[in-house]
């Protein structure tokens, strides 16, 4: 293209843009008459213009800065490898997960970082590594596929091992001895192969050891390996020499070096044995044998000091293992194992001995341990200075409980029960035994600015052993991820075989926005306070979460739950609140059918508000199916069954709820509900009293006790209970019950007085019509009773749900109006 031609195109282009799209076509055909190419070029330019509206809208500085911010190569292509993601960075290079587009397999791609790309020394080392490693063919050594250079960038493509580095496993706590022995055996085996070929690794450390998801150990990074006798590189570039000349220049860690290495002496294969000893020591004790404030100090200790006895940090270490490790760590290499083979023999013997003692032929791991099928997640302790951040620790706890509750093979203690342990310094094992679970997850949360530190440990209650411990130090915005990790880790540690669907549900994120998530947590925190002003705050937070993420299903159930509670506690009538609740729940289910809570909420609404009995049961069952470890799913279903007159089933469900949430007062008390409606008043009272003993302030249960006494004709006692309950409040349910008792016990004046009082109050606040109706029932004023019941019907009064079984309505059952009412409530007798 020449400048003139371009000017022509540009002119037509600009003119075309000045016209609106309708006229444009006409203009173009005219302007480009006889010049097809011109038309094509202009149209191409116009089409690009359409797509380029945001093109270059940020200056180059921004683009470059983003480049800096995301140093990963992800998405780019190196030779025939498509880079997927950054796996990790080491001193020698970055390692990426990549796809070999020729063979269609995943590889680990090690690249020299660009700022070192010109470093000849490192390039040589990389080549060296590849050559060395490709010579080795062993199941415990990561296989090297290819080494190459692309546009001046050197890379190694090697076997991608999916798993965890040993570093990730070492979290300051000892590992299981059997596991350590196994790891030792596999590494020693790999080393034996290398040594047999004259190769010394020289950089053995936990970050170079990967444990695959199939528990196979793989050795990586022969980057500084020494090849004898043909040293292909300049000995002056030895790590050892660097140490001699200037310890401060050492790349990476010195903690695993042997004395001879640290002191810059000649090394042979026995240096690897020492390094392995350090790794084993760290695994067994959870700490390094040689540590210090700086590298010089560490080197000094390596060279001259003996490490602390292992038994100081791990009293359960087998004596033989301690002996083996000590022999690896001999300063004088003549006194160490002289060959990896010797070490292997000792380790294998140890393994065999362990197995014999345990009496199993497994890898010593199972050792007769029963699978753990029950777990309690204790409330994570909020260690932050700011108490307002409690919603975070509570929220994370709850989320973990919720995630794990979805696993069918695991019985998880409900939130209500475990939250009794909040703010108590409790020994996890003790708590676990008290709750009757096989394992306990406990931990602490500390928020500092925009970072969060979460420490968790999973404890076996049978022996107090720590099954797993981990510390997460992340940005606050990553908490979603951390929770998933914790849930997955726990599931894995409990060796629960998860189906793929279960795994997916475990890490299912209901929102990608951490902001929305935090708002959700806050909403839940306030909802759990279960008092009107707090619930209203919770409502606000849920709404905010939805504003940010309108597809946040859980936030909708949060809304629904708030509405549901508000209609119980506050002066809102059901007809005000339930449609909103239902809308929220339906929306939640639209967004996610597998949301158990939403099904239960919907079922509850169908029961209480819509009287869709069959529909409700379907939803209850679905909710339980999706999340059997949830107290409320069972309890709500229990209420439903009681209202349906299916008392035995109801009792069973209430009992199940209690199993899941044994310390929940509600769960304890509610077994009394079906008993009450089954007219087993004494049994009902017994359960109610049990709960009241633990919390005398359990108002509505006390009310039920009063009603039970009334049915038994124990009017004095009933009145006493109600008066105790009322105290300074004038709970409208209590007042109505009082009126009813007065009426039934023939204290008509008093009953009329209550009636008048309620009617007066009804002018200011919402007084359920049912409450007034029952006083008329007690007074034998059937007509008024039915009038008010009619109003109650219109209001969708909660108490009407029990129309089938409510003893208070017994005197009305023979009346046709009762039958009519039931018919309209879709449950004709």
């Amino acid at each position: 293209m020449n400048p003139e031609r371009w000017r022509q195109i540009a002119d037509v282009f600009q003119s075309a843009l000045r016209r609106d799209t309708a006229e444009r076509a006409a203009f173009l055909s005219e302007a480009c008459t006889g010049d097809e190419e011109l038309l094509r070029d202009v149209e191409a330019l116009l089409s690009s213009h359409e797509r380029a509206s945001r093109f270059m809208d940020e200056p180059a500085m921004a683009v470059a800065a983003k480049c800096v911010a995301s140093p990963s190569l992800a998405g780019q292509t190196v030779a025939h490898y498509q880079v997927l993601s950054l796996l990790g960075s080491g001193g020698m290079g970055d390692v990426y997960l990549a796809l070999d587009t020729k063979l269609g397999r995943k590889v680990a791609l090690k690249l020299l970082p660009d700022h070192l790309a010109g470093d000849q020394q490192r390039i040589r080392r990389l080549a060296q590594e590849a050559r060395v490693a490709s010579n080795l063919n062993h199941p415990n050594i990561a296989h090297v596929y290819e080494i190459g250079v692309v546009q001046g960038i050197s890379f190694i493509a090697m076997e991608y091992v999916e798993g965890q580095t040993l570093t990730a496993r070492l979290t300051g706590r000892p590992l299981d001895s059997a596991d350590i022995v196994e790891v030792g055996i596999q590494i020693a085996d790999a080393l034996e192969e290398a040594h047999a070929k004259g190769i010394t690794h020289r950089d053995l450390k936990p970050s170079n050891i990967i444990i695959s998801t199939r528990n196979q150990v793989k050795l990586l990074d022969f980057g500084v390996a020494k090849v004898a006798p043909h040293a292909e590189y300049d000995p002056a570039s030895d790590v050892a020499t660097l140490v001699k000349t200037d310890p401060g220049v050492i790349i990476g860690t010195v903690h695993y070096m042997s004395p001879e290495q640290a002191l810059g002496q000649k090394v042979d294969h026995r240096t690897d044995i020492f390094s392995l000893g350090v790794v084993l020591y760290e695994s067994v004790t959870g700490r390094l044998p040689f540590d210090g404030k700086n590298k010089t100090e560490v080197i000094n200790r390596i060279a001259h000091e003996q490490p602390e006895a292992i038994i100081r940090f791990n009293y359960a270490v087998p004596a033989d293992l301690e002996r083996i490790i000590r022999k690896c760590l001999e300063k004088d290499r003549e006194r160490r194992y002289q060959s990896t083979r010797e070490l292997l023999v000792d380790l294998k013997n140890l393994k065999r001995d362990n197995n014999t003692v345990a009496g199993t032929t497994h890898r010593g791991k199972q050792r007769g341990r029963k699978t753990i099928d029950s777990l309690a997640v204790l409330p994570l302790v909020n260690e932050s200075v700011d108490p307002d951040v409690e919603y975070l620790s509570d929220g994370i706890t709850e989320s973990i409980i919720n995630s794990l509750s979805q696993l069918p093979k695991l019985r998880v203690m409900a939130r209500g029960t475990v939250f009794r342990y909040k703010r108590q310094e409790v020994d996890p094992r003790e708590a676990g035994n008290a709750l009757g679970v096989r394992a306990v997850l406990a931990g602490r949360v500390l928020q500092l600015g925009d970072r969060v530190v979460i420490r968790t440990e999973l404890v076996d209650t049978a022996n107090g052993a720590q099954l797993w411990g981990e510390q997460y130090n992340r940005k606050l915005s990553d908490i979603l991820v951390v929770q998933e990790e914790i849930a997955l880790e726990v599931a894995e540690k409990l060796r629960l075989k998860l189906s793929r669907g279960e795994k997916k549900r475990l890490v299912k994120r209901y929102t990608e926005s951490t902001e929305a998530y935090q708002l959700y947590l806050k909403g839940r925190y306030f909802w759990n306070k279960a008092k009107t002003p707090e619930i209203e705050i919770g409502l606000k937070y849920f709404r905010q979460a939805i504003d940010i993420d309108p597809c946040y299903a859980l936030a909708y159930t949060g809304l629904a739950d708030c509405y549901a509670l508000l209609s119980n506690f506050s002066a809102l009538s059901p007809t005000d609140v339930f449609p909103k609740a239902k809308a929220a729940v339906v929306k939640a289910l639209e967004l996610d059918e597998t949301l158990a809570e939403a099904h239960t909420s919907l079922a509850y609404l169908k029961t209480i508000y819509e009287w869709d009995w069959t529909g409700a049961e379907k939803e209850f069952k679905r909710g339980i199916e999706l999340k059997s470890s949830d107290e409320w799913s069972h309890e709500a279903y229990g209420w439903y069954l009681a209202a349906m007159g299916r008392f035995d089933e109801s009792i069973a469900e209430m009992k199940r709820a209690r199993e899941v949430d044994p310390l929940s007062l509600a769960a304890i008390a509610h077994i009394g509900i079906p008993l009450f409606y089954a007219r087993r008043y004494d049994d009902a009272i017994e359960h109610f009293q049990e709960a009241l003993e633990m919390d005398a302030d359990f108002r509505y249960i006390r009310l039920r006790v009063a009603l039970a006494y009334t049915q038994k004709g124990m009017y004095e006692e009933a009145i006493a209970e109600i008066q105790q309950m009322m105290g300074t409040s004038s709970d409208r349910d209590a007042v109505a019950a009082l009126g009813y008792v007065y009426a039934i016990s023939n204290q008509r004046d008093k009953a009329q007085h209550v009636l008048a009082e309620l009617n007066e109050r009804a002018k200011q606040e919402y007084i359920p019509s049912y409450n007034i109706a029952i006083i008329h029932v007690g007074l034998g004023e059937t007509d008024q009773a039915f009038d008010w019941l009619e109003k109650a019907y219109e209001e969708r009064s909660y108490w009407l749900t029990f129309v089938r079984v409510d003893p208070v309505l017994d005197n009305l059952r023979s009346d046709t109006r009762y039958t009519e009412l039931r018919r309209r409530m879709k449950c004709a007798p």
Binding site: R7, F55, A62, V63, A79, I153, E515
Partner: protein, 190 residues
Amino acid sequence: MTTEAPKSITELLVAWSEGDRSALDRLTPLVHAELRRLARSYLRRERQGHTLQTSALINEAYLRLIDQKNVRWKNRAHFLAITAQLMRRILVDYARSRQYQKRGGGALQVALAEADSLSNERAPNLVALDEALTMLAEIDPRRSRIVELRFFGGLSIEETAEVLKVSPTTIERDWITAKAWLHKTLTSKV
């Protein structure tokens, strides 16, 4: 970096424009530092879900580097033009050092998949863009300058108009035209 007064950057820029080639070497790390600072802000903001105020950040960065007000310079337009050139040099060099090119092709050869992301994404491949811009300069030096001033120099439409002594409307039109051409060039298969 924070101890570096804007004046000295300006001095370096001046020196560069007067033919002092070594000024480039001294300027480069300063620009890099600015990039890193910007990058940190991006990381922080993106993680917290804020994508606001990026333009404010960028303006800040440019201001720190190119303190126009302090320039006792006869020809402000000339100065800005020079600095834009310099920024282009430094930024493209930086991008190039971070980039791994596909084998056997110039920067312009963009695979189809990448082309899609180019059209969706706002951020062009700086190295490719630089080459395309050079090509544009051969047939349309003025529009190429406009892109250089705006995209690499960070100048607004008004500022660019001032530098080139034409109306902002003209600049706007030319900017759109240049963008269209660049976009087309970068996404077409060679």
